[in-house]
């Protein structure tokens, strides 16, 4: 198919580069097309005064991580360890870990 092996390699490299370029073009087009739905989602958040994304519905502290307190993952007992799988995927919201002098957010 190719006279030299390097011709095939360069063609494959070029095809890879073009596909990478197409990937960026697709991302740019999708972002533009989704502008309207992002605006609508934002409006839903504003009107309904929502605070979190609905990603995990198994536990209340992963359904609304920004509203959770540090004790929520430990349920009703000090020895009841945090056990929901989504708790392993997420990091602790930074405002729960903040050590500050001003008593703005109680831990």
């Amino acid at each position: 198919m190719f006279a030299r092996k390097s011709d095939g390699f360069f063609t494959a490299l070029l095809a890879g580069g073009v596909l990478l370029g197409l990937m960026f073009a697709d991302a740019a087009i999708s972002q533009r097309l989704d502008l309207d739905s992002v605006r609508r989602r934002r409006e839903v958040v504003r009107v309904l005064t929502l605070t979190d994304l609905c990603l995990f519905t198994e536990a209340r502290y992963t359904r609304h991580p920004s509203m959770a307190d540090l004790h929520a993952p430990f349920q009703e007992h000090p020895m009841s360890l945090e056990h929901f799988p989504s708790g392993a995927v997420m990091a602790v919201p930074p405002h729960l870990n903040r050590r500050e002098s001003a008593p703005r957010t109680q831990r």
Partner: protein, 387 residues
Amino acid sequence: MSTMGALEKQRYLLDFSLSSLGRRKGKNIALVVVYTFVIFLLASVLFFTHSLKKEASLILRDAPEITVQKLAAGRQELIPAHYIDSLERIRGVQSVAPRLWGYYYDALSGANYTLMVNGALKDRAGEIIIGNGVSRRSATGKRSRSLRKNDIIPFKTYDGSVLTLKVKGLFSHASELTTSDLILVSETDFKKIFSIADGQATDLVLQVRNSKELATIGAKITQLHPDTRSILREDILRTYDVVFDWRGGVIILVLSSAFFAFIILAWDKATGLSAEEKREIGVLKAIGWETSDILLMKFWEGAAVSLSSFFLGIILAYLHIFLASAMLFEPVLKGWSVLYPEFRLTPYINGYQIAVLFFLTVIPYTVATIVPSWRSATIDPDSVMRM
């Protein structure tokens, strides 16, 4: 040597390297497959977390400016509505509104719903508006279709009775990332389901005149009511910026296992060449190849393997995350959830991510292929061939 001559020399070296790779076809194909998978995994995690964070930062920009919760023994509890008067008197506060919301476990479907009171349903007790996830999950049992307008959902109230509410609307599919498990109810029905007395709210949301004063107002609230805590909008935004941080949680486990697999791969290369490869270097040196030519040949070998894997891995990761809706991550994200939102992420990718992947994978691998060759190429060809 002219530029054309130098380029032609590189092409001949590349031709030779590709033929050399072709002689060990099975081994090299296996190498490309493993290498592609490592890059695919790394790129998938990077694309997914970045797009989710970007999406959260865009849509939660209009989240409540300050949310005030009441705490009792470290837990959140209902806040008395009379707190509203004192909060409204704080300079800079524009409005204070109570929010009534909570979680309802539906024993029929086994799913958890978020119930929230909505002002639009004030005089429409008995009616609800539901998210797409709720419509899918409530259609269990004998019914195989999703819930539609005018269907009913029974709710078991906290006093033991059953309250049936009629679906009067569904959220659009586009808003599923925020409303999938949401059920909007009237205040009367909410209080009936959870037996909540009048004059109480789940939390209070504040609007302020100047967003620069948020932190100051937050501090004033805690001073005024030490049993409360306030969550600012920037806290919510930062939560989603950090929550899917690739350096935390199980994500670091996925990334580190992929990275260690890659280290083993590179280590295998760097600790030495096979006897066949060493003999090949010996023969090439014996017939007059310079050490630099051998290194260049090995460089082209490494570059061919790593560049092909790099392009393949990144393109497959893009298709996986943005076209196949992160299919492979679904079991991890679902966990024990019965209700799971079906959403398609908008692709937010940038050159920085591609550069990070390139420098983490292609460069180390290419270097790892050159080092052992340099060691073999600098010793006497006769002794290399006798090895």
